[in-house]
Symmetry: C2
Subunit: 146 residues, 2 copies
């Protein structure tokens, strides 16, 4: 989240370029995504959007998130046992730490070793196109609460 305003404008321009309609709901959602660094869930975004648009529905949130995902402007972190989470600031694969207590998610500033990807490709014969690295642990706040 270097500059929320700049990121917001990037998102808006992307939709404009592709001739998607800039509805107030979409614009507000993009503003939220650009200003979030907590990897919000759809329902979190829904709660926040409803403050501005009381009739907003979850369907609209999901449709917009999927649109942005298809445009490679949002990274979706899927969880089988919890709400998916969305990152509108760094829509490319990068490692995360996830608190197993409070479900806080933070970015990690470490790169995926490039030679690990190469070795994996060699070993498996796969053409690697993407990846995901999640570290699970207990965040500082939850350690204090112990």
């Amino acid at each position: 989240m270097a500059d929320p305003q700049a990121r917001f404008e990037e998102l808006v321009n992307k939709l404009r370029e592709r001739e998607y309609r800039l509805t107030p709901q979409r614009v507000a959602l993009m503003r939220l995504l650009a200003a979030s660094d907590g990897h919000p869930s759809a329902s979190h975004l829904y709660d926040r959007l409803q403050e501005q648009f009381p009739t907003t529905s979850p369907g609209t949130i999901y449709k917009t998130l999927n649109l942005l995902k298809d445009l490679d402007e949002v990274l979706e972190l899927g969880f089988s046992d919890d709400d998916n989470r969305y990152d509108g600031n760094k829509p490319y694969p990068h490692p995360h730490v996830i608190c197993v207590r409070c479900r806080k998610i933070m970015d990690l500033e470490v790169g995926m070793a490039q030679n690990l990807l190469q070795e994996a490709a060699q070993q498996s014969g796969f053409q690697i196109v993407s990846h995901r690295l999640d570290l699970y642990g207990i965040c500082p706040d939850c350690q204090d609460r112990e």
Copy 2:
């Protein structure tokens, strides 16, 4: 899957030790898990179990898988957009390659760099307890089918 028979016996002994009942369904499921290296889904296991026990239900499969998961004898790979997959041979975190076409999953024989985990802990303040690394790509078979 070094030795399916040995692994099978390990699983059986684990249940016996903890005084869980060794029902025929559980035994058969453990045999399947010990002999699988394809990271089967619950529904795959269900299909195979039904050959031996035509009245088996998905509920029983899930209950047994969750039991083994709680005993740290099965690793669950959860997917928000697909069936979860289960590994009864290496129930500890290890990297996988996943084919985005056919959903084949293979183990990778590369270790998670230990210093990456340490750096992550330092950077985030988290106590890291576990992790997951998935590489997504196209498997050799699906490349050939192109």
